[in-house]
Each structure stands twice: as structure tokens, then as C-alpha cells.
């Protein structure tokens, strides 16, 4: 079944030269996927003595569905977004390849195919990052190096595993893991985690992410941040739930603690950075890192509720971050800028974009009654009900990050859509329908998931059961923690929506005839008449007081990163760039060479 889809995709790759074809390919693949996933066939492809095995299980179904659904919508958006740009063939090839490879990762049943698709994903996304032709600020290189480190780590782990159990199958590793020695357990675990953490942009390995997210074309960033990073989560979840939980107790504890706190710190720091950003794309990029931090924390805690929340958040994050990146992309395309300090008042020009961005922002902030809240709630409850005291302190970090998220969410909406209407943006019009439709559809999905999160719980619960949890309970619209406390989303949703509609109706019909719209120039300016060139939008350094308040924290980390870590990396790049030409083929060649070397000498080393 999976192979069928892959073949279907592969067939399409070559002739694909336009976005439309890419959309058709992906959406038809999506259609095929969603209509024919009942079977769980396993396809085995044998290449000489490697056996590649593909198949779908309940767990990977969640990710596969997410990838297919969202990338189908994004590729529709992509048609309009990319129209009129250069090198469409190049872009769309890589775009489709990235999506295809994600499917491949999800479908992979053994580490080799997993790794191959992982690398295809890496370099296709790398090629899109450097799509503009210029590698400004060495983002592409940075991304490549981090991915390479991650890739090598993973490869090494795979080879070690193979040397231990003589099998590449994921299931075999899961079964054999408890039998490993203490050091081996740790080594494999850490190496895999490094590999996945790079993609999930966990704190020490996140350096590549903000620029790479913000500098690639927005239609791809929606995929990049929404889905591609989730592949890291996909792997991590397997590691945490199926593998680590079977390690000796002390180790599990340490892994989960370290990773959970790393996730928490990632969330807080990235949120702080997001708050002080001046560019919408960069803001969203940091926000993505922060949100991935929650998910990692959720996985690391490892209780039923927390894993469910992590997986739920992973899907929801793909939805709302997808919308936000697409909305920013729409603004970028229509207005030609994403600078939060210059743009403003696009709400009257791009109402639909605003609507979807608003819904996504509310979901991101975790405010009821949308889907985002469900995930956040489960995460908090899982931490509060946790028996481990350190999680109780961690919950404060997560809360801090989550509250500070309101700041950047507001800044984003305010900077792009609200504020003074300036004549320089008069020409802006609503984005074309292919861009608006996916956003609105995804926004409606978010609203629906707020009403009935159970729609998503069902596959996630199945997936978790596949991973090794037992009796993962779920209800259509009611959330509950292990203390038996519940939140009934149906009532929440119902009351919020009813009250809001009533309030809106009331305020509209009251004095309707004598309520009038006035332009934003007609504001209270202490009785003075502003001159034309005077700027009345308060958008520059919007959170200056907050910046000053968090300055001590920020200064320390900034020093740490940029002076020590950053400088070290820069010099490393200088050296590494001699080896890496920035060319994907060369890189692939290196990978192959490395693989061969490892295969040749691996057995001697690890025997």
C-alpha cells in the first residue's frame, strides 16, 4: 500500500514542472491515502542484501494523515504563492520530493529506508532553503551542517544497532533494546536523540532553525515548520515510548528529565526571542521552535496524557503554524513586506487572511475553545498530576512560555493586520482564492477540533496503543486527567460561541443607525492634527519594557551563544565549507562514503 503511493509519487516526479502538477500529485496521493488506508500491508523491497520494508501502522498513520492532509492544502496554496517566480521546476521538484520523503519516513519499517528518506528530506529541504540562489548568512550551510551532524549520529546509531542485533528493522530494535548493556543503551539512545533533536530544533541544536524557516519560501515553510520538524518528533516518540521506557529505570528517568527540561528551556527562550523579533517570519520561526519545545517536553514526560498531548499538539501545531506561515506568505506576496514595524491595518484589505490568522493565533495561544487549548490542557494536567516533583517546576517554565506567547501572537496580528491605515499600503488586496481557501479550511478544522477533539484522539490513541501504551482512553469532547478532573469541550465551545454571538449581536444592533465607522486617522491625538509624515502606529520595539525586564536572561544566553558557541561554529563553518561545497550531490556522496566506511569497519569496532 505504502509502496503504491510511493510509486505513484515517484512516477510523478519527473514530469513535474509546475506547481499545479505538484498539487495534483500530492492531492491525488492524499486522496488515495485517505480512501485506501484500511489495509496495513507490508511491502518489502530487496536490494541485494539490504531489505527495505515499508508499511503503515496505527502510529505512523497519524503522521501520514497529517502530512498528506496538510501538504495537499499547502500545495494548493503553493500554486498561487509561487506563481510568477523563477525556477519553479526546481522548487516544485524539491517541494514534492520533501513531501514524498516524509511519507517515506513515516512508512519506513526499517532503519535503512528510514535513513534514506531522512536524507532525501534533508537535502530537498536544503535545496529549497537556498532556493533564492544566495546563501545569505550561510543559513543553508548552517542547516546542512546541523543536519549532517544529526544524520551521522543517526547513521552511527543504526549501524551500531545493526552490529548488535543484525537487523535493521525498527521493531527488532524495540524488542532487543532491553537486552543491551547499559553503555550501549545510552549510546544508541543519545545518538538517535541527537539525530531527531536536530530536526525538532531542541535548544542546543536549534541554531539553524530560525533563519532556515524564515528564509525559505513561505509555502514551503508551512511544510518545513509544520511537518518536516514533526519527523523529528515522529522518531523521538518511537525512541521515548517504545525504546527508552524499556531501559533501566534510572536511565529512563535521566533521559526524560534532561529532554523534558531541554524542551522547557527551548520553549521559554525561543518564546522570548520570538517576542523581540521585528519580522513576522522570524517571529513565527522562533515560535515554531518554542512550540516544538512543548511537544518534546510532552513526549519526554512520557505519561499517557502527556504523550497524547504531545502528539495532539504536533498535529495541531502543523495546522495553526501552517495557517500562520501561509498568512504571512499571503501578506508578503500581496504587500511585499513582512516587517512588523512597517506594515499595518491590512485587516480591511485582507479580511479572510486575517480571519484565519486570528483563529490560528488563538489556537496557538492555547485559548479555549479552539484545538490549541486541548493540547495545552493535557500537557499541563499531565505535568501537574505527575508524581515527579521536577515536572511541577517545569510546568512553570511551560506556563511562562505559554503566557509570553500571547505577546508575540498579539504582536503578529497587530503588526500585520491592525493599527493605523497608511496610504502606502492602499494598493494591497486580498490574496487569490487558492491561497485563501486552504487557510480558511484549516482554520475551520481548528474550530472543529475545539468542539470535538476526539476526532483526533481516536487515531492518536490507536497509535499510542501501537507504541506500547495500554488502554488509552479518550472521549469525543471531554478531556480528563488521572485525578478524574474533566473539561468538557462541548460545553466550553458552546458557551463561548453562544455568548460571543450574543454579545456581537447586541453590540451591533444597539444604536445601529448612529454607529459610524471613522478612519484610523480620526483618533485622539490630544487635540492636535498629526502631519502626514508623522507615524502614529506604535510598532517599533513593541515590547521594549518586556525586553528590559527579561534583559538579564537574554544577555546571558546571547553572550553564551553568540560569543562562544556561535563564534566556534562560524570558524567551524569556515573549515567545513572547504569540504562541503553547499552542493547537495557532493553531500550525498559524502554520506554514501561515510556509510560505506561505517559498514566496512563497523563490525570490527562494535563486536
Amino acid at each position: 500500500m505504502g509502496g503504491a503511493i510511493l510509486a505513484y509519487l515517484a512516477k510523478r516526479i519527473t514530469p513535474m514542472l509546475s506547481s499545479i502538477v505538484s498539487f495534483l500529485a500530492i492531492s491525488s496521493a492524499a486522496v488515495v491515502f485517505f480512501t485506501m488506508t484500511s489495509s496495513t500491508d507490508v511491502v518489502t523491497v530487496s536490494v541485494r542484501n539490504f531489505t527495505l520494508q515499508f508499511g503503515l501502522n496505527a502510529y505512523s498513520w497519524v503522521f501520514a494523515a497529517m502530512v498528506m492532509g496538510i501538504s495537499a492544502l499547502v500545495s494548493l496554496y503553493n500554486i498561487a504563492y509561487m506563481s510568477g517566480k523563477d525556477r519553479l521546476g526546481y522548487f516544485n521538484l524539491n517541494f514534492t520530493l520533501a513531501i514524498m520523503s516524509m511519507m517515506g519516513i513515516v512508512f519506513a519499517n526499517d532503519w535503512i529506508s528510514f535513513f534514506i528518506f531522512w536524507e532525501i528530506m534533508t537535502w530537498s529541504s536544503f535545496l529549497i532553503v537556498v532556493y533564492n540562489g544566495i546563501d545569505e548568512g550561510k543559513i543553508g550551510t548552517k542547516y546542512m551542517i546541523f543536519s549532517a551532524v544529526g544524520g551521522y549520529a543517526m547513521l552511527m546509531a543504526i549501524v551500531i544497532t545493526n552490529s548488535q542485533i543484525d537487523s535493521f528493522l525498527i521493531a527488532d530494535l524495540i524488542n532487543a533494546y532491553p537486552t543491551f548493556g547499559h553503555g550501549m543503551q545510552a549510546m544508541i539512545g543519545i545518538l538517535f536523540l541527537i539525530g531527531f533533536s536536530v530536526k525538532a530544533a531542541v535548544m542546543p541544536l536549534h541554531v539553524w532553525a530560525p533563519r532556515a524557516y524564515s528564509d525559505s519560501p513561505m509555502s514551503f515553510t508551512a511544510i518545513f515548520s509544520g511537518l518536516l520538524s514533526k519527523m523529528g518528533i515522529f522518531g523521538m516518540a518511537i525512541m521515548f515510548i517504545s525504546v527508552f521506557s524499556k531501559a533501566s529505570i534510572g536511565d529512563t528517568f535521566i533521559y526524560s528529565q534532561v529532554i523534558a527540561w531541554l524542551g522547557g528551556v527551548t520553549a521559554v527562550m525561543a518564546t522570548f526571542y520570538a517576542v523581540i523579533q521585528k519580522d513576522a517570519k522570524r517571529l513565527l520561526a522562533y515560535s515554531s521552535i518554542a512550540q516544538l519545545g512543548y511537544i518534546v517536553t510532552g513526549l519526554a514526560i512520557g505519561t499517557k496524557l502527556s504523550v497524547m498531548s504531545a502528539l495532539f499538539l504536533a498535529v495541531i501545531h502543523a495546522l495553526y503554524k501552517g495557517i500562520l506561515f501561509m498568512a504571512v506568505g499571503a501578506v508578503e506576496r500581496q504587500a511585499g513586506s513582512t516587517n512588523l514595524e512597517q506594515l499595518g491595518a491590512l485587516i480591511r484589505k485582507m479580511p479572510w487572511t486575517f480571519f484565519s490568522a486570528l483563529i490560528a493565533a488563538i489556537a496557538l495561544a492555547g485559548i479555549p475553545p479552539l484545538g490549541g487549548f486541548v493540547g495545552k490542557w493535557m500537557l499541563y494536567e499531565s505535568m501537574i498530576t505527575s508524581t515527579n516533583p521536577s515536572h511541577l517546576f517545569l510546568v512553570i517554565l511551560i506556563f511562562l512560555s505559554s503566557t509570553a506567547a500571547f505577546l508575540y501572537v498579539y504582536r503578529l496580528l497587530f503588526g500585520l493586520f491592525l493599527g493605523q491605515e497608511e496610504p502606502e499600503w492602499d494598493h494591497v488586496k486580498e490574496a487569490p482564492a487558492p491561497m485563501v481557501i486552504p487557510m480558511v479550511l484549516m482554520a475551520l478544522t481548528l474550530i472543529l477540533l475545539g468542539y470535538a477533539p476526539g476526532l483526533l484522539f481516536e487515531p492518536i490513541a490507536n497509535g499510542m496503543e501501537f507504541l506500547g501504551f495500554e488502554n488509552v482512553g479518550w472521549q469525543m469532547s471531554s478531556l480528563s486527567n488521572i485525578w478524574g478532573d474533566t473539561v468538557d469541550m462541548q460545553y466550553v465551545w458552546g458557551s463561548v460561541v453562544t455568548l460571543f454571538v450574543l454579545g456581537a449581536i447586541f453590540i451591533t444592533i444597539k444604536n445601529r443607525k448612529s454607529t459610524r465607522y471613522v478612519t484610523t486617522k480620526d483618533i485622539h491625538t490630544s487635540g492636535e492634527i498629526p502631519e502626514a509624515h508623522e507615524n502614529l502606529t506604535y510598532a517599533v520595539d513593541f515590547y521594549k519594557p518586556f525586553e528590559r525586564a527579561i534583559e538579564p536572561v537574554m544577555r546571558k544566553t546571547m553572550d553564551f551563544y553568540y560569543n562562544h558557541f556561535g563564534n566556534g561554529l562560524e570558524s567551524l563553518f569556515g573549515f567545513v565549507r572547504k569540504i562541503y561545497t553547499g552542493n547537495g550531490q557532493t553531500y550525498a556522496m559524502y554520506v554514501v562514503i561515510f556509510l560505506v566506511i561505517l559498514l566496512l569497519i563497523g563490525e570490527q569496532i562494535f563486536k
Binding site: R516, H524, G527
Partner: protein, 182 residues
């Protein structure tokens, strides 16, 4: 039916009058030296909050424009702007002799002499300067007017906008104000 309707109308008017007259939000705009008697009126000696008077910072929220003294032509422009941004019903209380006839600044080249030719004035309080008691007495007067439905300066302004505009433009040479949207 007719009488009943009238009765209802009367009760509604009474409630409206009561609410409007007992909650006067003044615009915090000290246009002239009269502003020095506002703090005493607000604070513990006279405490005008007893009567529901309160100072508001922006014209959108305010009901009463308190012209505390003479208006220089430069201020007049800002006063008109603030007045036009206020929401109806709105009232103007002018105090100090200088708002009535120019007072001691009758021959000054930079102050206007008759405020009611530029914006409609509901209550004048004379004196230079009026004591807080006088200010409050003037405000009581305004309350009475509101209760009776006589304080209709805003309506006058809206209906005779052209006449007011003519007068205003005579004094304010560089007229760059947005249109009055009420």
C-alpha cells in the same frame, strides 16, 4: 394606548435624564488659568465626585467639555477638534469671564472673545476666576438643563454647522481638520 405610550416615554426620559445628569464625565482639558481651580474642586475640600463628576482623559469617553478660561486661537483649534471627537450627547461649560466677552483680555490679539460663536455653550460661569463653588453651581445648572432636556448644544452645533464653521475659519486660517462626522 397613546397616553400609555406617553407615560412610558416620560419614564424613559426621566431615567435617561437621571443617568445622564448624574454621571458627567469631563474632558481633562485645562485650556486656561481656570484650570487651577479644578484640582480643589476635585479633591477633598469640595469633592465633586460626590455628584458623579469625573475627569476623563480622552474626548471619546467624555460628556462635558469644560472650557476653563480664555481661548487663544491656537487652543481654539484644539478645542474644536476635541469637541468634535466627543460623542453625543455632549455639553460645553465655559467658565471665566474671559470666555463670555473676553474679560480682561478684551483687546488681546490672540484670544477669542465670544466662545459661543465658535462652539455651542450650554452653561457660562462668570468670574475671574470662579471659585470651586461657582463651578459646581454651574454644573448643577447643567444637570438641571439635562434633566429637562434643554441642554441641546450639540444639536444646535450639528444643525448650524455652517455658521459655526464660518466663524471658526475666520479665526483659524490654516484649516486642516478632518470633516466633522456627526
Amino acid at each position: 394606548m397613546d397616553t400609555n405610550d406617553k407615560g412610558v416615554r416620560k419614564i424613559v426620559d426621566m431615567i435617561t435624564g437621571f443617568a445622564r445628569s448624574n454621571s458627567l464625565f469631563m474632558l481633562a482639558y485645562g485650556t486656561g488659568c481656570g484650570d487651577i481651580e479644578i484640582p480643589p474642586a476635585m479633591t477633598s475640600r469640595y469633592d465633586w465626585e460626590r455628584f458623579g463628576y469625573r475627569k476623563m482623559a480622552t474626548p471619546r469617553q467624555a460628556d462635558v467639555l469644560l472650557i476653563s478660561g480664555y481661548l487663544a486661537t491656537k487652543t481654539l483649534k484644539r478645542v474644536i477638534r476635541s469637541y468634535e471627537q466627543m460623542q453625543e450627547p455632549k455639553y460645553v461649560v465655559a467658565f471665566g469671564s474671559c470666555t463670555i466677552n473676553g474679560g480682561m483680555y478684551w483687546d488681546s490679539y490672540n484670544t477669542i472673545k465670544m466662545l459661543d460663536h465658535y462652539i455651542p455653550v450650554d452653561v457660562y460661569i462668570n468670574g475671574c476666576m470662579p471659585r470651586p463653588e461657582a463651578v459646581m453651581s454651574g454644573l448643577f445648572d447643567l444637570q438641571e438643563q439635562i434633566k429637562k432636556g434643554e441642554a441641546n448644544g450639540a444639536q444646535k452645533y450639528r444643525e448650524n454647522l455652517e455658521w459655526y464653521r464660518g466663524n471658526q475659519k475666520k479665526v483659524i486660517k490654516n484649516w486642516v481638520m478632518p470633516e466633522y462626522n456627526w
